[in-house]
């Protein structure tokens, strides 16, 4: 474009030079006695006065040339500018695509590593228990313990595999949910009871403040999965801190039923709040594991809450300062159905 720009300048300069030369030639011809009219005919770009004393390039010619140059330059500037913008936009789009792709790849790699760990560690435990059973002479009590350990490890593998399958189903829109009116508090107490041993082993206290009579219109199993996930995450995050506590609150707010699960544990950067719900996202890096998991639990939880017309968000004041997860569902109306539920 710059070349074109300079080129039109050059062309204009050369044309002016040509006119100047013809001016010189015309002067010589006039001096030699050639008739004024003839000179004017030979050089149409020159204007010769009647008496033949003054001769110059026609001002209109110079104007035309300048105008032509400017219009060309104008065009080049627009065209060039346009192409430049298109080029920048294309580079921008390409860069974004590549960056998204790189991030997705990175997260998928994290996922594969996480799944590998989540499957191979319990698998190693299963194998070890089985070999110990086969290899050594165990008293009945030890045998019992080994079998229990083996089953625990199998449960963990089962949970991991289920998570992966759930994710696939969510992605393909194949979740078969049967929404119904579920009493919230009994559901919460049931989950807390089932996690009692886990919390106790982790040294985490669980506190519940749930209003009675709250209901949620959702698939019962899906609701259990969501709440269990949030509470188990809380226990995992709080484990190891002083006065480790997970608090579960349930109440009404505006037109919503709200469940808040908070802990005083590891927390996260405020910028990570949304990323937590992305598929495969995990705190920490590939090998330094900030807690267990495949990076699918919260993705699944949010998808399930969304299926029943609700929302799930996360908040933390920063690393080491605890976290709060807030799930909301639309309140059930008179006709038994909450607004905005996919039917």
């Amino acid at each position: 474009m710059i070349d074109q720009w300079l080129f039109s300048g050059e062309v204009q300069g050369m044309l002016q030079e040509t006119h100047r030369r013809s001016l010189d030639v015309a002067k010589v011809m006039l001096e030699q006695g050639v008739a004024t009219n003839d000179v004017a005919k030979i050089f149409p770009a020159l204007s010769v006065s009647e008496d033949g004393n003054t001769i110059r390039v026609k001002p209109t010619i110079i104007e035309t040339l300048t105008a032509e140059r400017d219009s060309r330059r104008n065009r080049y500037a627009w065209e060039g500018g346009f192409f430049l913008i298109v080029l920048c936009a294309a580079i921008g789009v390409l860069w974004r695509t590549v960056r998204t792709e790189v991030r997705l790849r990175q997260r998928q790699r994290n996922f594969v590593t996480a799944v590998t760990h989540e499957l191979k560690s319990p698998l190693a435990s299963v194998r070890l228990s089985a070999e110990t059973l086969q290899y050594r002479e165990n008293d009945p009590e030890t045998r019992e313990r080994l079998i229990e350990r083996l089953l625990n490890s199998l449960d963990r593998m089962d949970a991991t595999v289920s998570n992966i399958l759930d994710t696939t189903q969510i992605d393909e829109g194949k979740l078969a949910l049967e929404p119904q009116t579920v009493m919230l508090s009994p559901c919460i107490y049931e989950i807390v009871n089932s996690l009692e041993t886990v919390a106790e082993n982790a040294g985490v206290k669980m506190e519940i403040a749930a209003d009675n009579g709250l209901t949620v219109y959702a698939d019962h199993l899906a609701l259990t999965v969501v709440l269990r996930n949030l509470i188990a995450n809380g226990i995992d995050a709080a484990a190891g801190v002083e006065n480790a506590t997970v608090t579960i609150k349930a109440n009404k707010a505006d037109s919503k039923t709200v469940v808040e699960v908070s802990d005083n544990g590891r927390g996260f950067h405020s910028t990570e709040g949304e990323k937590l719900f992305e598929k495969f996202y995990r705190l920490g890096n590939e090998i330094r594991r900030e807690g267990r998991g495949t990076g699918l639990g919260l993705y699944i939880a949010r998808s399930l809450v969304a299926e029943s017309g609700g929302g799930l968000s996360a908040h933390s004041d920063g690393p080491g300062r605890g976290a709060l997860f807030r799930a909301t569902w639309p309140r059930i109306q008179q006709d038994g159905r909450p607004p905005g539920v996919k039917t």
Binding site: H117, K120, R136, S153, R288
Partner: protein, 253 residues
């Protein structure tokens, strides 16, 4: 022998453990418990740490003869634990036991100063054999060092008790555990050719190392420390196609 709390009898008929203290750093509680019970049954004194940071602290103060270390751990990964221990001069043998089984991961672990590397899931018998092998290697080193703790060759000196050497130009060198093991093996068989396989077997255990090229690098490092000129080897000789040879009374070329 340590008290056998599980009532199991040793798999080996005779006790090879000498009650060696082993630290297991593993975040999978069932697996950690299973390993500890089996080690205890073999007569070792085993304890567990469930995350990287606790494990590192325990290893610093613990006087262990071996660390069985997972890689993917909370708070601090296993590679970092191993690296930090080595940087602090702690040369406790490390056996990585991990779900990560890519060759790059193995190489990385071994470069960070690990003694052996096993991927999950593993065979119990193999784990116990490797544990015994690592402990045997280190006992061999200690015993061999006891017989002849300091070796002088030319103007150089090497003290195998402290891993410290001094070259002819007066510079002090601190060798890594692996460098010291290789040097010790060559010095013990002074004047004889030691094959790469033998070095692999004695220093790393047969399956841990992906390439014998790495031994060349270790020999190169020993040469850089103790040979006066880079181009000629007076003490550490390569016998092409066979292995290496150490001579302490090298004549001037």
């Amino acid at each position: 022998m340590a008290p056998d709390t599980t009532g199991w009898t040793s798999a080996w008929g005779k006790d090879l453990s000498n009650g060696a203290k082993i630290l297991v750093i593993e975040d999978e509680p069932e697996l950690a418990a299973g390993i500890v019970e089996n080690l205890t049954a073999e007569g070792y004194l085993a304890e567990v740490a469930t995350d990287g940071q606790t494990g590192l602290n325990a290893a610093r103060s613990g006087n262990h003869e071996l660390l069985i270390l997972d890689v993917m751990l909370p708070y601090k990964d296993g590679f970092a634990v191993c690296r930090e221990l080595r940087e602090e001069g702690n040369e406790v043998p490390v056996l990585f036991l991990t779900a990560k089984s890519d060759p790059e991961d193995r190489i990385r672990g071994l470069e960070d100063g690990a003694d052996d590397y096993m991927s999950k899931p593993f065979h119990l018998a193999e784990l116990l054999l490797r544990v015994a092998a690592i402990l045997r290697r280190n006992r061999w080193y200690r015993r061999s060092t006891l017989d002849r703790p300091v070796i002088r060759f030319g103007e150089n000196e090497m003290d195998f008790r402290t891993y410290r050497g001094r070259s002819a130009d007066g510079i002090e060198h601190e060798l890594t555990h692996k460098e010291a093991l290789i040097f010790r093996l060559l010095a013990e068989k002074e004047g004889q050719v030691v094959s790469r396989d033998e070095i692999l077997d004695v220093v790393w255990g047969c399956e841990a190392f992906p390439s014998s090229r790495t031994i060349d690098n270790f020999i190169l490092r020993l040469r850089r420390r103790f040979e006066q000129t880079a181009s000629t080897s007076r003490y550490f000789h390569t016998v092409h196609g066979v292995g290496y040879l150490f001579k302490s009374d090298a004549n001037d070329p």
